[in-house]
């Protein structure tokens, strides 16, 4: 079963950054999107949620749901002002506000879901802490808890591992495994090719368009990497590549 299917999807702001992406992403998998800087990785995520002014082609989600209830989005941390006067609990509660009308207040169930989500990322003890007092890794975990609180079957994360400490990185990897076990689909923009095969099951390689998409052991070939990074290939010391079986 596919979680996300796109057909000839083109995305951009003033002009198209990504062109003609036709892709089928399987459900209950941990999917990584890789590509060089400016390849359109974040654009792809934003396009799936319909956050971009330019969009052509088609996108379909699991069970034909619309983006809003089906997708939870974790933006890059730098996109918000962490001095904003709000505490951790209230940020995570934002995840429940998609389902609440403008006059509705969160009920007990919403409160329970927020606590549950904070527990999952190990941040329950920080619930009443101001967000300005969090470390980078803690900020990331709060953002992920907020997405979990949405209870969406698909979660899109924009570089969840960028600039986080080892504790957070390990917590996230464990969380990803847990989510996979619960048949959740994860789509992450990822930078570190060295951890790619350990953290993810499926890889999507893009650079202005789709280069390859498939299970990591099939798609992660030197040929595909070279096409994706065009000579700007990052260091690949520990990378286990699959040689094309010829």
């Amino acid at each position: 079963m596919n979680a996300i299917e796109t057909q000839r999807l083109s995305l951009g702001y003033n002009q198209f950054i990504l062109k003609n992406i036709s892709i089928q992403l399987p459900a209950a998998q941990r999917i990584a999107i890789i590509g060089p800087n400016g390849a359109g990785k974040s654009t792809f995520l934003k396009g799936l949620i319909n956050l971009l002014p330019l969009r052509q082609g088609q996108v379909r989600f699991l069970d034909g749901a619309n983006p809003a209830p089906a997708l939870a989005y974790v933006p890059q941390r730098e996109e918000v002002d962490w001095d904003f006067p709000i505490n951790v609990f209230d940020v995570v509660m934002m995840g429940r506000h998609g389902q609440l009308k403008f006059w509705q207040r969160p009920n007990k169930q919403d409160h329970d879901l927020v606590r549950e989500s904070l527990e999952k990322v190990g941040m329950l003890d920080f619930a009443s802490r101001q967000i300005s007092q969090l470390s980078g890794g803690q900020q990331q975990r709060v953002f992920i808890a907020r997405a979990l609180a949405q209870q969406a079957p698909i979660t899109l994360m924009d570089e969840p591992f960028a600039g986080v400490d080892m504790t957070t990185e390990n917590a996230l990897v464990a969380l990803f495994a847990e989510l996979k076990a619960q048949n959740q689909t994860l789509v992450c923009v990822h930078h570190d090719l060295n951890t790619l095969a350990r953290y993810f099951d499926w890889v999507v390689m893009i650079n202005g368009g789709l280069i390859a998409s498939g299970p990591i052991h099939q798609a992660l070939t030197l040929d595909n990497l070279q096409k994706t990074f065009e000579g700007r290939l990052p260091l690949l010391e520990n990378l286990q590549l699959t040689e094309p079986s010829l």
Partner: protein, 295 residues
Amino acid sequence: MSLWQDANFIWVLTGTLLLGVSAATIGGMAVLRQRALIGDVLAHAALPGIMMAFILFESTQPGLVVFSALLSSLLGYYAIQFLTQQTKIKTDTAMAVVLSLFFAVGLMLLSFIQNSTMENKSGLDKLLFGQAAAMNANDVNWLIVITLLALSYLVIVFHKLRLISFDPTYAQSLGLKVKRYELSFALVLVFTIVIGLQIVGVILMAAALLIPISIARFWSQSLPVLLWLAALFAMISALISTQLSMQIANMPTGPWMVVILGVLFALSWALRWALSRGWVSTKKHAQTAGNQADV
């Protein structure tokens, strides 16, 4: 005769208190949305509308003033959106352009009116600097309506506004109608500004919107508390400035309001600084140090 038995004083005081509260809370939300200057722009953009309406109807009735200012400010609001979306101009430049352009047109129309033979034109130039002392029961009634409107709007959609202020992209990803919330907020902001013009004037309006929340940020990190504090500081400044302007001759209320807000800001800063040094009280020291660490 005591000031408190003077009906005019009561009207002026009620008016400035109400304006202070609504401007501080609505303006506070705008600051947190990192749109601090939008209020300044909308205030200036109201001017040509009011002047145009006067030329057409030769009247300064509150209803007409509110409506024409609303139209004019909204036009300014959309002009900013148009400039930032359709051209390469950045938001701050677009706001400066719209502010000066609308204000210039307003001033041109004002000087045209002042050199004409039109009647009832005496109060119009007061819009620039405000004249709280000229407020009457009718004006205060308008203020009561607007303040109630602004405060109930804030209370009802508080959570959504906070979400959109903190992370608009995420709000959109949740399927919230972000544009609709922003427009409704702009409308309430414009109402507050238009009503405030008579008291503090076009030029000082920004101060009434921005300073109270800035003072409050010295004292709390919780948004609801911040808004309450902002309202409180605004009320203090309203109370003192109306007293001053009534008891001392030729003392304008609006500028005094702003100056007192400035003094409260300086005092808050100094007190915070002293607290952080342990000069005032050692009991609160740990807490202050904690607050400082996260700035």
